[in-house]
Every structure is written in structure tokens, then in C-alpha cells.
């Protein structure tokens, strides 16, 4: 009887032992699978971030690139540009993975959804080429241009937006019907042509960024004017000097990011102005007399442009109008240089 009881207890102990050991083995394998999966995800994200950086480099090297890339990951991205040191970085949300974007002009909303990513490049010329700017957006963001079909400003804004980016025109000047346009999108960027006086409060319940665009000129090139971002119940305004800069403002839809990228463009433009002045200085002894005269006038204009660009952004109308005029003069003199068969400036 006692032996039988011992046998039962022994068997029960055996089963308990098997269950505990089995549970430990199962837990162990679960933890191994989780850690392997995390590692694979991390590696995939790191690899994608590197691939994105390479694609951005390739895209930046060419003008008018239009492409859609698939991230293969649902992770979203954060784009941050530090206004103090002017260094931007693309980071994966919820991870420590980030890639510094030190040398390119990238305009992007601070939040970009994973999945498909739209990339477009356009050249920035002031009037000499500064660089190719890269514009990044995603299919969950829609750009809505408010203005009637007869409004030239609204037409300019609508045409400026790349065709690959989801974009619509809203003809009603009271924002009615905007909820229908936003259906299926996570975020909207509402761009109002300066001619319409509608208060941004009407859109406070929608997931949208609002901005107002005022053009100083519409018929001449370069296009320049002012963009007003409506953020935290306040307006923050910055100027733009070319249509590429304006597109940058529309794509970033965020005043601090725009300002930071604008500062990078300005510092690059000032550096290039110095380079062209040095180049003319080096060319001067080797060119004919007629070229020397034209070169002397263009150096003055380039110096003027450089000084205009160096003005702080916080000033009212700091550079757009005068910068636009200086750019036009440099363009004209460069044509004159070509006419005289002298080595061209840019």
C-alpha cells in the first residue's frame, strides 16, 4: 500500500518536473524568437535607413528626379533639423536609429509615415546653382490649395506641387468640403493663396497644417514672396526667394524645419558667392580687356547678393525683394559675358 502511494507520488513528481522543464524550454525558445525578430527588425530598419540615405544621395546628384520608394517596414520617420548647428537627421520613430543628413538640402514634414515614400528633386538656383533640393513626403499626406480657378496665385501653388504628391484644389473660400478631401488621409497641408482672407480658426478641429502664401511678384523670374505658417494660434512668417524654396515651405509645413533648411541654403549660397568671386579673381589676369570690364560689374553684384543673403531672417522683408533684383542683375550680366565670348561666370 505504502509502495503504491510512493509510486503515485513518484509519477506525479515526474510529471510536474516534465511540465516545469517543458515550460522553461518553451519560454526559452519564445525569448530566442523574440530577440532574433527584434534583431532582424533592427537590422532591416538600419539597412533601410542606409538605403534611404544612398537613394537621397543619388537623387540629390540629379535634377528633376521623381521616385517612390518602399520602406518594407511600417515604422514611421522623424525629420529634425537643428536650427543652432544646422544639422538635420532622419530617425526611425520609436528606435534609436538615426542618420545625419549633413550635406543635403532636404525638405520634409517632421513626421513621415512608413510604407511608400515619395521623393522629388528640384534645382535651387540663386541664380547660380546652389544644389539639388530633395523633397520627401508620403501617401498619407494631402496638399490642399485653397483658391478659385481664376486665382493666379492658387494656380501657381497647385502647379508647383509635384504630381506624385496627393494634391487637390478647394474652390470654396470658407473651407467647406475640406472634410471630404481629408477622408483617407492622416494629415492635410492647407495652402491658402494670399488673396483669400479666411481665418485659420475654421480648421482647428482638423489634422492639418495651415499656411498662407503672399507673392511679391508673379510674372517675373525668380519667384519671391512670403509664407506664413499658422502654428499654436500664431503666425510665423518667412520669405522665399525662388519657387524651389516656396515648395520647400509647402512640403515641410513647419516653420522651424523650414527656417533651418533655409539657413542651410543661405550659408551654401554665401559660400558659392565667395567661390565665384574667387574664380573671377583667378580668371581676370587671363582674359581680354572687354571681359575684365564685365567681370568687374558682376563681382559688385555678387557681393551685394551675398550681403543681402547674410541679413538675419527675422527682419521684415529681409532679403526676398532686394535679393530677387540682385539675382536678376547677375543673370543679365552672365548673359552679357556669354555674348562677349568670355568664360562664363556660372
Amino acid at each position: 500500500m505504502i509502495q503504491s502511494r510512493r509510486g503515485v507520488a513518484d509519477q506525479q513528481f515526474h510529471w510536474i518536473f516534465v511540465l516545469i522543464a517543458g515550460a522553461i524550454i518553451v519560454l526559452f525558445f519564445i525569448s530566442v524568437i523574440i530577440s532574433v525578430r527584434t534583431n532582424v527588425d533592427r537590422r532591416m530598419n538600419a539597412s533601410f535607413l542606409e538605403t534611404l540615405d544612398t537613394i537621397l544621395s543619388g537623387a540629390q546628384a540629379a535634377e528633376d528626379v521623381i521616385m517612390t520608394i518602399r520602406s518594407g517596414s511600417r515604422s514611421s520617420f522623424e525629420y529634425y533639423c537643428d536650427p543652432q548647428i544646422l544639422v538635420a537627421e532622419v530617425a526611425m520613430t520609436g528606435t534609436a536609429l538615426a542618420r545625419q543628413n549633413t550635406h543635403r538640402i532636404l525638405f520634409s514634414h517632421p513626421q513621415v509615415q512608413g510604407g511608400d515614400i515619395f521623393l522629388v528633386t528640384r534645382s535651387i538656383a540663386m541664380p547660380f546653382r546652389i544644389d539639388n533640393a530633395v523633397f520627401m513626403s508620403d501617401p498619407s499626406t494631402i496638399y490642399i490649395v485653397v483658391g478659385s480657378s481664376t486665382d493666379i496665385g492658387a494656380t501657381l501653388l497647385y502647379d508647383l506641387l509635384p504630381d506624385t504628391f496627393p494634391k487637390r484644389r478647394l474652390e470654396s473660400t470658407d473651407f467647406s468640403g475640406i472634410d471630404q478631401l481629408l477622408r483617407g488621409y492622416k494629415r492635410g497641408v492647407v495652402i491658402v493663396s494670399g488673396n483669400i482672407a479666411i481665418g485659420p480658426q475654421a480648421l482647428r478641429d482638423y489634422p492639418v497644417n495651415i499656411m498662407y502664401v503672399n507673392f511679391y511678384n508673379r510674372d517675373t523670374s525668380p519667384l519671391y514672396g512670403q509664407v506664413e505658417f499658422y502654428e499654436n494660434s500664431e503666425f510665423v512668417s518667412y520669405e522665399f526667394l525662388t519657387d524651389t524654396m516656396l515648395l520647400g515651405a509647402l512640403v515641410t509645413a513647419d516653420s522651424s524645419t523650414y527656417r533651418c533648411v533655409l539657413e542651410r541654403i543661405r550659408s551654401q549660397a554665401i559660400m558659392l558667392a565667395e567661390l565665384y568671386m574667387k574664380r573671377i579673381e583667378l580668371l581676370q589676369p587671363h582674359v581680354e580687356e572687354r571681359c575684365k570690364r564685365v567681370y568687374a560689374s558682376i563681382v559688385t553684384e555678387i557681393r551685394d547678393l551675398s550681403e543681402i543673403l547674410a541679413r538675419p531672417l527675422d527682419q521684415t522683408r529681409p532679403f526676398a525683394a532686394s535679393g530677387g533684383e540682385a539675382m536678376q542683375k547677375i543673370t543679365d550680366i552672365n548673359r552679357e559675358v556669354e555674348f562677349y565670348s568670355c568664360p562664363i561666370i556660372y
Partner: protein, 163 residues
Amino acid sequence: MSNHLLKRSQIKLFESIAVLVIFFFLVAIGLRIYGGYELHALEEMQVQFSTLDSIKTSLLLLSLPELTCTVYSLDRGSCIDLYKAHAFAELTLAHGDHYYDKFRDSLIVLEQIEPSPFTITLYNESGELTGSFRYTPVPVSIWNPVRRYYGLGILHVYVQVIQ
């Protein structure tokens, strides 16, 4: 009899524990092999990334407005303007910090092979090439806007490999 049963149970228990120990030992060996493979894959990835960095720097140089030649306001691919190159060399000496963000610790030298060979150091933050560097030679044409001819040259790009 009871002692005999107890011994049999103990032997069974030891057997089970021995099986578990061997099992975990094999799993540990498997994990070590997998870890080694992962480490190797990471090292390969690092080499790939540094190669990409070097290619990106070369690509950046070829599209850099500070260097590219323009003919009738249009950029020509793989072409460097001689006078821009000289001006750029002076600019990087004066504003090295501005270009450090672009080229980091690297050495970039433009060499003209034909006609009349010469070299211009465009950028030098290499610390006399101490450490590990990846070298990428890029064939380019060099435009002389005064004498109006194209020279044949090589852009020597040395980019430091980050360990």
C-alpha cells in the same frame, strides 16, 4: 525494496537532468554559432556601408556646384572646371568647417594626366592618412575655360573608414 525504488527514481531524475543539460548545451552551441554568423553579417554590413560612404562622397563631388563645369548655364556630368577647382581649394582652406559636414575626414585630390600634368589638393582633413581609408579613383574631364580645352584627369578620393 524501498531503497531500490528510491535509487531507480533518483537514476531516472539524473537521467532527465542529464538530458536537459545536454539539450541546453547543444542550444548554447547553436546560439554561439548563430551569434558568430550575426557578427560576421554585421561586419560585412559595416564594410558595405563604408564602401557606400566612399561612393556617396565621389557622387557628391561630381554634382557639387563648386566644382562642376557649366557650359551655357548647363552642368556637364563628370567634368570639373579648372578655375572653380583652384577657387574651391582656397575656399576649403579658409572655410574647412563648412565643408567638414560634407566630406568629414577625407582627402580629395584632383590630378590632371593629359595635357601638362598637375595636382590640386581640393580638400584635406585626413590627418596625413592615419587610420583606415577607402580609396576611390574617379575619372573626370577638366575644363579650362580660358584656353578652351578639356584635360583628362582623375579625382582621388580617400574617405576614412569609421570602425
